[in-house]
Structure formats: structure tokens, C-alpha cells
Amino acid sequence: MNNSQNPIDKLLHDMRERAKELNCLYQVEELLTRTNLPLSEIFTQLLQVIPGGYQFPNICQVRIVHEDHTYQSPGFTPSTRVQRVDIKEEEKVIGFIEVSYTRDVPQTENSYFLKDEQKLLQTIAERIGRTVLHFKLEQVSREWETAQKDLSDKIKKEWMVVIDLLRRTDQNLYIHLGRKMVYHLFWNGVMEAKELLKSLSKDQGAAQTEMSDDMNRPSQKKSQLELLELSDKTFRIAARYLSDSDILGRIQKWIQEDKASFLSRAINNIDMPLVDVINAITHYHYISGGTYELSPPMEKGLRVSLIRRFFSDQLDFINIAKNHIEVRHFYDLVQRIIYPANGYGRLGGKSAGLFLAQKILTKPGDHSEVLCELKFPKTWYITTDAILNFLSYNNLEEVNEQKYKEIDQIRLEYHNVVQLLKNAHFPIEIIKGLSMALDDLGNKPLIVRSSSLLEDRMGMAFSGKYKSLFLANQGTKQERLDALTDAIAEVYASIFGPDPIEYRAERGLLDFHEEMGIMIQEVVGQKVGDYYLPAFAGVAFSNNEFRWSPRIKREDGLARLVPGLGTRAVDRVSDDYPILISPGIPNLRVNVTADETMRYSPRRIDVINLKTCSFESMEITALLTECGSQYPGIENIVSVYEDDHIYSPSALGLDFSKANLFVTFEGWISRTPFVKQLQCMLKTLQEKMSTPVDIEFAHDGRQLYLLQCRPQSSTAGNVASLIPKDIAEDRIIFTANRYISNGKLPDITHIVYVDPENYSLLERSEQMIEVGQAVGKLNKLLPKRRFILMGPGRWGSRGDIKLGVPVTYSDFNNTAALIEIARKKGNYVPELSFGTHFFQDLVESSIRYLPLYPDDPGIIFNERFLLDAQNYFPDILPESAALADTIRVIEVPRAASGRVLRVLMNADLGEALGFLATPDSQASAERERVEVSETASDDHWGWRLRMAERIAGQLDPGRFGVKAMYVFGSTKNATAGPGSDIDLLIHFQGSERQKQELVLWLEGWSLCLAEINYSRTGYKSGGLLDYHLLTDEDIAKKTSFAVKIDAATNAARPLALKSQ
């Protein structure tokens, strides 16, 4: 063909050629379907048919090579003008077909063959491959028929039939099994197997000596035939040494394992998208018929790979998980995973924790009987990379840079980010997945939880930093889907929230590549009136860090129970209490008297309102009055109070409108296996996960559900402190070794020490009451959480007050720790209170409790320091100076040349140490961390102090009649948190008009600063200044705040006013 031909001619020519090809293909097809012919005959006939499809049939010759046979056109001569295509049977090359011209022909596009001819040969090769397979399968099926016949005729032993069949139909597998068998025999000490192996290695050995000077040359490959013979020999030996059933069992197992090899390939290939891994798992589940008979090493290998692929590559996690999560468990898991197309993501930390816990607890063991009723809520997962996919789908990748902005800008923009994400669209495969999830979960309310990669890191307290949202999940499918996607977007947005970002920045985790998975869980519970809620829920810890009795051991654990949704148990709620129990010793209650029981009983309940589709918190009494009779197991939750007596409801039931009901959980604790289940769960999880755990659970009145599980060590504030051993004895204030919980008070500046000896010498109870009142006043004057109270016996003693200073919670709610000192009296050591009267208040506000036994052997109690240091008490509270012998206030830095008191508590060692230490700024950040809601860094007070100085610097003393201005409180003491006020004292001497002007001027500052503080920290307030105007008279008389000016300790700091 040359280029001078006109286009029409070329077209006609092309069409003619095409017709030839089609004709050829038709004939090939005709031939290949004639299954009555043997393969060799088909091949021979093909040689005649194929040239007809080519441009130059007369000089065209064909050669087909199939396995060991070659078929070629008569007079075949090798040629360079050749076109060759491999023949494949299930991806395996089993031969080739080639077409060549015996002499030269014109070339088109640098080829002797047309493009369509190339395609033609390709098609023919494919068809041949399929035909060969068809023949083979047909043969196999025939073989099977004979094999089955053999079996039924009992001519051969079962395994021999199988082996025989394999040898004929799948030689590779046969050889594979032979190899396995020879090793197996060898391991079992069969001499002949040893010989066989030796002969094998002898050949190799000979080869090796031969090529000892050429190590890089490959060893000679054994031919297929030799290998077959080797297998034959092996099975003959096996027949002599092993029982028939043993051989059959092994063959079955090895065949089964061979089937799993594709699974292992899929999982171990890190480039394989998740969808393929999931398909492989599903496929394997089907072909194995759900039996999963894998050899232990293979099972283990697959487990580890799967765990790494789906959950975490943290070795700590894998080490534990591989013992409990089995390959077969993944089949169920992958049915509920939603993932982006071609995604590679994992499921995130929360999902991993719960999945592992579920597998541990459902695995048969000692715990099985107790936990047979334990349930897990139905959960769907979205992989962690879906968020990236979501962002890129909506062109929102720039949001990822959010974390590197200034914190106030992040805060400012956060609301926009939330809206942006909520208005973005999810990729279709995610929507499809969510739609399936909704169909599966039905219209039960849902909780959308974050499950991020950071949450997965052991030892990270990332809980509560990201959002979890409840959904009522009511309405039409579309409405439910919209609400769900909306919630997911909002949870996604929380990654870009200022608080988590600030938290990450502080911990050097900003550069961590954070991705967020999502768990969509059904909410455990049922309908009660218009509400949906579990009967009760809560959190539990393997280690009890707040023990209210010396009889409670740390390992007895701690549970916080609340009726309704568990949100109130997870978070500390300032005005409400959960019911605390120690599952190891559940009958030892925190609250014993009717008064205590009522005071510390939960008052409010969190529910999902199905009518308004919202999450609500309501009075328990209101809920019970409205629909108490529908509340499942309510008689196990509440007790009735009548005539100073609290008792469980009678069999006649409850009258919700009349009865005085209090939540006590008495029934659940004492009449059901619930506590036993809880304890068993904690113990089992702790043992198997080799770490104390922290779990969330819910109970629907019939069954207990586990909702979440993670290592307890990751909970902030309760970290065991390292106790240094090299502190010089003169720097130690006290040591303790009984009933120690975990904790750290890094920088205590003041000690209030009620001298046990002198307190016991007080003669009148009024004096003791006065001591209590004085402590209450000190509590308001000393820097919050920077002072500790140390005193004799039982703080807050209500009965015999000589046993301990009579105080209530409000008298010490600002202290960092409450320390009780039990001094020996004769041979009698008084029992301490363990803060029982206000135990729950201590827990909720993170005030540490520490009992000291100074007279125990080996205990250091530096009484000299406490008694010799200058006592500032009379200066602080001159009106109570008479009690100065009993109450001592020590300003630690002054008494110890700038040092502070550091208290370290370690429950693991059962040791605590209070010593004088150099203050460090790191410590102050840690201290603030412990507090519930007040986070602080040096910046908060620094900024406040600068602002206070600026206000003073701008204040015109002449205009406003101001003599002096002071700053005090947290701003002065460097303890200010993001929500702190700036406390100012203003010595005012002006007129009423000046006063009005001054107040107006200060209010302006106050509002401005509040606004700035909000953008810095997210804390809203109506004003940031807390100022007090003092007159000359106030100062002379030292009334109220005037006492702060020129105070002996913790005095207010004067500020420079605008110079005139």
C-alpha cells in the first residue's frame, strides 16, 4: 500500500480486509466450539483457517505451540516477518500462536501486519485459551466422576483419589502438596523423607560445589517431571507412615491454605486500594464457605496484616490485637465499612478500641458465662481518608492549612469552616454507603462519633476533643440522610476547631497527619414517652483513682453511672453528680446516710427527644412524672425516701406523681448481675490488653452494651507521677505510702497547716468552729489551686468536731489538695475520713486527697518546716489572730528561698512525696491541665497583666479622683486561665460624678477586653474586669478587699497610673 491511493480506495480496501477478518474469526469460532474434536485436531484445522483472515493469505503461515506440542502450517519456515501472541489459561501462559509471511510484503505504519490483524490474532489467542480451559475443566469433571466412582467403589483410599486427581488436573498444586508432605514427614523424623530431601539437596550440593567460585549463578531448575516424581515418592512414603485420615486431613488443610494465598497477596500489597482488599476478604469468605481453615502461622500473618490495614500500625496495638482478632472477623467488619473509591484509609482509634474489646470479650474464656449477654451496638464505619476525599471533592483542601494559622484567627474562622463543610457535598459512593447504613440501622437514633488517627495513639488523651453528635434519625429516608451527612460534616469540622488545634500545638502534634474516621452507631435504648434513652449508661475504669475507703483497692475499679444517655457520666457536670461504685467492692457506697445519698444523687438526665429531634437534658423528676411507668427497670434505678429512710421500691410498683424518688441504682447494684458483668469486663479487658482500661457502656434495661474502650492511661489528670529518689531529706516536707492515688501538684505556693497538737488542745467547740470559719476565709483569699490544706484527722467532721476541722465543701473548694494527718495518740491511730462527706465534690473538682501517717516507720514528716516557717495567718486574718497557734499559713517561696512545694503521687508504687522544688513554667502548664475547664498557659495571665498595666497607664488620676490602683488574684499570681477575670482594686477619693465617670470608663475597657479574650480563647463573658472601688475608710479599716493592699502574703500589686 502506498500513500498515493485516494481515500475512497483505502476505505474500500480496509472494509474488504475487515470482512476477511470477520470471516476468519467466524471460522475459528466454528472450529473451537466443536468440542467433539480433540484439541490436536482443532489446532491442526486452525492452521488452515487463520491465513484466510490476512492480507496475503498465500504466503501466510501459522504455528501454534501448546504446552509440549507444536502445530504448524505445512512447509513452515521460520521468518522475521512475524506476529506472535501468547495463549493464556487463567493468566498463565501455556503457549503461543504466531503468524508469519514467508517473504517480504509492504509495511503499514512500520509493520508487516495491519492493526486489525494484530487484534484478530489477539482475539484468536484468547479464544484458544478459553477453549483449552474448557477442555481441561471438562476433563477434570470427568476425572472427578471417575474419582467419585472410585471412592464409592472403595477401590482406592480417599486421599489417593484426591492426589491422583490432582496429579492429573493441577500438577502445580500436586507438587506443592508433595513438598509440604515431605517437610512434614521430615519434621516427624521419617528417615526416608530425610533421604529424599538429601537427594534433593545433594543435587543442589553438587551444583553448589561446582559453582563455589560463582555464587551468583542460579541453581539449576528441576524439571516439572522430576518434581512430579518426587511428589509421587513422597506420597508413597506417607502412605506407610501416616494414617489415611491424617493424610487426608493435611491435604485438605493445605489445599485450603492455598486458596487463601490470594488473600494474603491482596492484604500485603500496600498499593492495593481498600476496595480490593475488601473484595478479597469477601471472596475468600465465600470460597472457604466461612470455615477459614488456615495454618496458625498463616492465620497469624493474615491477622497482623489485616489489623495493620484496617486499624493501626502501632506495635503495641498489633501485639495485643493479633491474639484476639481473627481473620474471619473481618468479613463482618467489611460489610459495614464506607470508603471512598480507591481509598486506602483505616478506621481510626475509637473503632479499633471497640472492635478489639468486642473480640476479646466474645472469645470463649473464663468470662464467657458472666458476659454471655453482653452486646455491642450495631456500627458502621467511614474510613479515615474519606475526609480528605470529601475535602478534595468540594475543592476545600485549603482548610487543611487551617491548623497553621494563629489561634484567634482559627477561632474567628471556625464557624465559617463548620458552615462550609456542612454545605459541601459528599461523593456519591459515600452517599450510597450512608444510604445502605441507614437501611441497615433503621430509624433508631444514632450517634456519630469521631474516630481519628490521633485518638489511636496510645497514651494520648484525645477524648472529647472532637465532636460526637446524637441524631434522632426520624422522618423520611432523605431527611435522615440529610441529617446524617450534616452531622458527619460537623464532626469533620471539629478537626479544624480551635481547641483541638491548640491542644495539638501544645503537645507538638500539629504536624501529625490527622485523618478522621467516623463511627455511626445505633444509640442503645428505647422509647420512653416522646424520648429515646438507655435505662442507664456510664463510664468505668479498671483503676480506681478516687478511693473513698481504705478498703477499696485501686484494682477494684470505678464506675460512674447516670440514668439516660451517658454524656453526664463522661463529662463532669458542675451541678450534678453521677452514682459512683467500685465494681470490685460494690457494696461499699460513697454515700451512706439518707442525707448524703439524696444530696449526691443525679438530678438531670440526658435524652433524645424524638418529637423535636433534639438532644435534651431534663429533670429526672419531670421525666418520671411524665412517663415513669414506661421507663425500663426504673425500680432498679430509684429508691424511695420516706420517714428518714431510703428503700428500694416495693413490689407494688411506684407512684411517680407522689413518691419521693432518688436515683441510687440500688436495684441494679444489689439485685442484678450488672456489677459482676461490669467488673468481669474491666478485669478481662485489662488482663488481655495488658493495660488498665476506660470503657463506656449503656444498658437498655435488658442487656448491657459496650460502647467504647481505650487504655485508661490516656485519661488526663490521673497520670502516675515519677517519684524522684534523690531528693535531699531536708527538702522533703512529707512522704506517704498508704491509699495513694495518682496525681501531681507541681507548684504549691501556700500551705495552710492546722497543727494537730494545738487543735486537740482547744477547749471549746466554738474555737474549733472558728478554726473552720478561718479556713473558709483563707480559701477565698489564697491563690486558687496553689495552696493545700493540711490538718488533723477528719476534715469536715460533722459529729465530734474535735476529730477534725468542721468545714463544708465551700470552705475549701479552691484548695489543690486536702491532706489529713493521722498522728498516733498513745497506741491509737485515728481513722481518717477519706473526705467521705464531700467525696463526690472532690472528684468532680479534681481536688486531690492524701492521708498522711507521720508516725509510720519510714515516713518523713517535716514538722519542723511547718512549725518554724513564718506564719502569715495573723497578717491575713487579723480578726482571728488568736488562732495563730492552731492555724499556720506558710508562703512556701518565702520560707524556702524561692522554692515551691511540689506534690507527686504515684498509685502504682503506692507512694507520694511532697518536696521543695524550683518552680518551672512547664509545671504550671501541666497543673492547669488537670483542671476541668480551666486551661491556661503563661499567656493568659501575661496578657491580662499587660492589659491591667495599660489600663492603669491610661487612667488619669486627676480626672477620675483615683489615688492608686492594684491588681490581685489570678492575674497577679500568674494563675489566670482563659476564663479568668482581671481583679483590680481602685483606691478612690473622688466625687460621686467622678465615680460615675470612672465606672463608665472601666466598663468600656471591660467589654473591649472581654471581646478580645473571646477571640483569643473562646471564653465568652459579659466583661473581663472585676474591679472594686475602695475608700480611705475601707483602707483604714481593712474592710473586705482592702485587706489585700499591703497584705503580708499574696498582697495586691500596685500599678503605675498615668503620670500627671
Binding site: D575, M598, R794
Partner: protein, 428 residues
Amino acid sequence: MADKSFNAFKMAQQQFDGVAEQLGLDPGTRDLLRNPLREYHFSIPVKMDDGTVKVFQGFRVQHNDSRGPCKGGIRFHPQETIDTVKALATWMTWKCAVVDIPLGGGKGGVICDPHNLSMREQEQICRGWVRQVVRNVGPLQDVPAPDVMTNAQHMIWMMDEYEKLTGAKYPGFITGKPVGMGGSLGRTEATGFGVIYTLREALSELGIEIKNTSAAFQGFGNVSQYAVRLYQEYGGKAVCVSCWDQKDNKSYTFIKKSGIDLDELLGITDKFGGIDKAKAKGLGYEVADAEAWIGQDVDILVPAALENQINAETVQKISAKMKVVAEGANGPTTPEADEVFKKKNIFVIPDFLANAGGVTCSYFEQVQCNMNYFWTKEEVLSKLDNVMTAAFHAVYGLAKQKKAFMRDAAYMIAVARVAEACRLRGWV
């Protein structure tokens, strides 16, 4: 050191010595009444939940039973001492005598902290306690009752053990049981109503029409609520109550000068006894400081909350028009404040007379149990009225006759009655 420190029993003896001196009792009677008649100390072995055995120290003190079986509570307290129990038993003798009920004084206890005990262990302590003193207690000898950290449940266990050991039903062995299990109706009202019965009599003696009076109440517990109710039924005007606010960790006074509406306040009170401040303001109440109640311009003060509320400092705030103090709480007035009252000629109905409605109702419980026939609430309350009225007049008569302060007169009459019984029995 020990002898210098605060000792409740020593205080009780000193108090007695003072009264004995005023009464001119002979040395023998003084010796007898200064000390308890009998003290039982015993060990209570308890098999704990963990299988170990712990031995608890138990006490029962019978101070004096010349007027009838001893009566007094059982305390569970970790720092219990025999001196405390002896002091409290002595006070019980006087308390029963002042209202002239035929009972003596007793008290008991176990050194233990219920915070460290399961309910089963507490039950074993209760039963063990009864087993150790079963021969020395009983409806006709000594009748226990609930006290610090014990309640109706403990009483039922004790009663059950006593009945098991004696082989018969003796609901009168113990008081403080729930209604239906041998408890008496009217107990909730008893103390508060008792305060007002004595107040009513006091006003009538002082020639003051109760309808024309106004009163300030401290507290909003059982005592205060029922006192306010009865007082208002009699036509008095209660202008304030105070109550603890758990959220703020402090008390507030709720004032309405025109007179508070009890039911209205109860309607905005949670079951923990806290009044909703915002709603109260909405209803026209002034919400003032904890101490505001004491300074109200009223005729009567009813402290019905805590000890030491009227002291040297707060007593200065009382209104010039204030005439009567009815002590609903235990020990609300300090000696310094008492001096001020004496000086200002303010009439005081002392605590152990004014709030004896409680012990009187316990006595009624015992009586009803012993005859196994139970009265209606009206019957209980009308009998209570009789007892309280008679008691008041006896004390008042003596105070007038001896020109003594009411508190002293109450003690004198109590001690005199016990001394007389001992004399008649020929003990002294």
C-alpha cells in the same frame, strides 16, 4: 493533753453540777446522777464480705432508769468514745424528764464508719450488737432508736434479731421504724409542731395574741416547714425562712414581709430542700443573705437549722421588738447570746423543751407497739399537744417561781424529777 481537751461528758457533768447546786441536791444523789447506772462494753465480731473477721467495739450506756425504761439512739461513728456516749445518755435522761414521759436516758454506739461497710456488714453489726446486750435491753428495759448514721433499716434488723432471740414479737423493743413496721404516724410533724405548741403556750402566758405576731424561721427542713405550717394555722405571720443552696454552697434567706406562703414555697422547692431563687424572686420574695433571718423586724425567732447560729456577733442584729426565741434546732444559742437575751428580757423556750416533740413521738411509737394498736395521726398529734403543753407549763411555772431563766428552769425540773424518782425508789 487528753485531760485538757474538749470532753463532752465532762461538760455534761459540769452542767449537772450547776443545776444540782441550784436544787441543793444531797451528795449521794449527785454522785448517782453524775454517772451512768450501767455501761456495757462489748466486742462484735463480724465476718466481712471478703471473708475476714473484724471485731467492732460496741457500747450501751444506761444513765438512769428510775422513771422508766431507758431511751436513746444508737450511733455508728468511727471516732465514737465512751465519754461521748455517756454525755449523750445523761442528756437523754433530762430530755425525757423535762417533757415528763416515763422514760430514762440511754445511748449506745459502735465504733465504725458505715462508709467503709457494706449494708450486709452493717446488718451483721446491728445483729451482733443486739446479741451482746439482749439480756439488758428490751421494751421494758432499754429502748434503742436511730441516731448518727443509723436509720430505720438498722432498727428493723435490730428488732428482728431481738425477736429471733426472744422468740416473740416485740415491736416496742426499738423505735424509728417505718410506718407499717411498727412506726408511728405523725413523726414527721412531731418536732416542728412541738415547737409551736410550746410557743403558743409561751405567747399566751406572756399575754401576746399569736394572731398579732410575726416570726422569722431559720431553715427549711422538716422542723421548720411544719413549724411554719402550724404557726400560720394559728394565725401568725411567718416573714422568712432560710435554706441551703447547693449550687452556690451557701444559705439564703427568703423574705416576704407580708407573710410567706408555705405551699407556694414548697411548690418551688426541689426534693433536696432547696428553694429556686429565681422563681422565688418571681413570686415576690426578697432573696437575702444567710444571716438576714436573724435581723428581721419580728416578734419571734425560730432557729431550726444548725448549732451556734445566735452568737455574740449575730445577736446584735436582732430587732428591738423581738420577744420570744423558740429553739427548734439543738444548741442554736451560744452562752454569750443567752446573756444578751437575759439582759434584754427575751423569753427563750430552750431547745430540749421546744424540740422534745421528737422524743415524745418516739415514746408514743413505743406505747403503740407495746399494745399493738396504732393511733391515727390526729390522735398522735393531739396527745403530743397535751404532753408539750403540760411540759411547758411545768417549766414555766418553775421559772416564774424561782425567777429563773427558762433554760435553767428546764434543767432544774428535769433533774429534780429524776432525783425524786430515785428518792422514792429508795436508791438515795
